[in-house]
Amino acid sequence: MEEHKDRASSSISIALIGSGGAGVMTAGSMLLEAAGRAGLFGIMTRSAGPQIRGGEAAAMLRLATFPVESHDNEFDILLAIDWLNADRFRAEIPLGTQSLIIGETDAEPPQAFTDSGARTLELPLKQIARETDGGRENMVVLGVVCSLIGLPLEPLHQVLESLLKRKGQAAIDSSVACVDSGAAHTGKHQGSYQLSLSSEKQCDLWNISGNEAAGLGAIRGGVRFVAAYPITPATELLEWMAPALEQVGGILVQAEDELASVNQLIGASFGGTPSLTATSGPGLALMTESIGLAVASETPIVVVDVMRGGPSTGIPTKSEQSDLNIAIYGLHGDAPHLVLAPMSVADCLFTTQWAIHLAEKLQTAAIVLSDQNLGQTRAIIERPADVAFVSGRSIQETPMEGYQRYAVGGNGVSPMALPGTAGCQYTADGLEHAPSGIPSSRAEDHRQQLDKRRDKLVNHDYGDHWALIEGEGEFAVITWGSSLAPVREARAMLLSDGIDIRIIAPRLLLPVQPERMQQALAGVTGALVVEQSHGAQFFHYLQAFYPQKFEFMSMAQPGPLPIRPEQVVADIKTRGKY
């Protein structure tokens, strides 16, 4: 469009919707892959109705010339194969007057969408598909989108060839034909949402989901045993790990429930194998008693919680940052442990790997709070760097006279003897114990062991990885996890207005880092806390552990709707008095 905003040339947002069997997810995945092959960055998220299989679905993509981590304020293109039950996606697909709604000829788009003032375009998708033997509308749609955004068809052809190989040459040919004729039907709209493609070849790009990234991070960190019980939205992490672990000599066991899975980890870890499980809120709730056992018995384990809407069964398929409280406070007794949170798809890899390193090194339990948004978003990212964080547990390797498993002193980490080491036999215990491991209810032993388990975590130097800090402003936005992405985007928008805010996003949520936070907040006079929870859990956490002279302000929004950059901008402008 003539007056199309400048930003559109570097980032385009596209939503594809359709009812059961229309194949919008397939089309979306292919588009993302093709964009990646063309050297673009991008993300794709999905949304679906309540049906177990089939039913209406939406693939939401953002393609850009720079790395993107969250959706934009609006979608540029909404393309529907049909409009059946499309209304349900209205809130997830904000449109503006610059947006274009494309649908089947003579199929009126729902008013809920046209109310936005977006323009509409009708295309005979069915008919175009029918012109090709075995043609499908979702392939036509792909061609239409490529033409609108000026994505060359060549990479898409390549994707079709590799993805449809097992369906045979006829399937490839008909898909290619549909794509080409879809692209030929956009008329004057061709290139109207042109993305500026650089001829520069991007370094090493990956197409990966947050769940897969966490799985890869686990394996890089040394995990060779996973026990788990399926749960949305963590299942893909497990499904990726089952065959991957086999390749590196590990194993995944499907346990009977989360009580079993977490305890299987404890057994495997006691034997010396770095172990991890992935679950979501309901599973984490079941595991808490035994996470406490891992803490008390000083047996390293890692639990990845891919958060979804809660409480109870909640909204299994949608994101929310509402398990912070249970992760921080959910264990009974005084049970110091690690809580970490990745803040992007790529960071799922780093943070999971770091969590394993820390749990192993500090002989404790780590909870990694990912969420549905990070876990199920598929993204084109730069290859995450290799980091040196591997297990590195302190082991008592040789027989030792008078070995004490829970010896106190030093940095609090006492070498662990593994079964098979002669002369070091001991019983690991969740009962409070003396340094030898023998159960004890003496006040002195309890105090000593409580100190030990706390000090080894508190005294560890977590380095700069503890948080992401950006900007210099006197007004800070403190956020965490997947909420960071819209906040960063808001910062970029504010910068173009000459406003610099400071972003602080802790990756390490427990143990808290008061000195580092104080340093990060130096010179700050006001702070907005941005999170996706109804109860403002992160806000209360900050108030409790990082009290400041100024008052924190809270921007807490429950799931399932993602936080949009412009919401953050508006909030900062009013609350930050800009």
């Binding site: 890869l216 890089r220 390749q247 590196v248």
Partner: protein
């Protein structure tokens, strides 16, 4: 394990005992079970450092610390999963799980069934006293329905007792036996057999709680050896269980069910190879 090794002197039962003094009431059946464990270990000449005994919570679950082997005293009801995770990743170890009837059949009941199904090569010993000893005398899943001295069930439980041997057989355990703490030598023989049999072995040991069920002192008069030898046929075992009075002592079933032994053969050169799946071929 090299059982014919002559380089070290033969280990005696006491070599498997730790210095820690049991917390049990004098006369508790669990003392004899402890002695059966050490006798069995000595009979097999197991290297103490290659044995792990894992338990949950209860009087009986205190047993690991009284042994001079590796141990894990886990939480109530979850000892079996701990044992499974350990044995799967460390097949070189002899893994034994021990505990009470409340621990194993009530709070841990599902793990019991699932462990039988999974049939990992390990031995599970339940010291059954038909009561919760540690929490001072409540009814357990194996308590008779008309036992009226349980403080939470003053009119008796009035619910059907749990039949561990039946459940074990139906769920897929590969070795099923009952022993009595009144005969530690016999119990030691059964434990030895259980450890040596491949797959998941289940041993119920009748072990009186003389404090909350003093009438169980009479068990020594009631128990009687099973008149027949163990069968490998689940159908035969099932028929025998139908006439079981809960006091037959001996090995009921030695099956040929295939144990769960996953392979650990790395196929990729390194974790790096896994990355190729994500790399965009531009």
């Amino acid at each position: 394990m090299d059982q014919t090794s002559t380089s070290t002197a033969a280990l005696k039962p006491k070599d498997y005992k730790s210095d820690t003094k049991p917390v049990w009431c004098p006369g508790c059946g669990d003392f004899s079970v402890l002695s059966a464990f050490t006798k069995a270990m000595a009979a097999m000449q197991l290297d103490p450092e290659r044995v792990v005994v894992i338990s949950g919570i209860g009087c009986s679950s205190r047993i690991p610390a009284y042994l001079n082997v590796y141990g894990f005293h886990a939480v109530h009801g979850r000892a079996l999963p701990v044992g499974i995770g350990l044995k799967i990743t460390r097949p070189d170890l002899t893994v034994m799980v021990a505990g009470g009837d409340g621990d194993g059949f009530s709070i841990g009941g599902n793990h019991f069934m699932q462990a039988c199904r999974r049939n990992v090569d390990m031995t599970y010993v339940v010291m059954d006293n038909q009561v919760y000893g540690m929490t001072k005398g409540q009814a357990s899943p194996t308590t008779e329905p008309d036992w009226e001295r349980g403080k939470l069930t003053p009119h008796g439980t009035r619910i059907n007792p749990f039949y561990p041997l039946v459940i074990a057989l139906a769920s897929g355990a590969n070795f099923i036996a009952r022993a009595s703490s009144n005969d530690p030598n016999g119990a030691a023989r059964v434990i030895t057999e259980a450890v040596q049999h491949p797959g998941f072995s289940f041993v119920q040991i009748l072990s009186p709680c003389i404090t909350f069920r003093p009438e169980q002192r009479d068990w020594k008069k009631i128990v009687h050896p099973a008149p027949v030898v163990a069968t490998a046929d689940p159908a035969v075992a099932a028929r025998r269980l139908m006439t079981d009075d809960n006091f037959f002592i001996g090995t009921l079933f030695k099956g040929e069910r295939v144990p769960f032994t996953p392979e650990f053969e790395p196929r990729a050169e390194s974790a790096h190879e896994l990355e190729t799946a994500f790399r965009m071929s531009a």
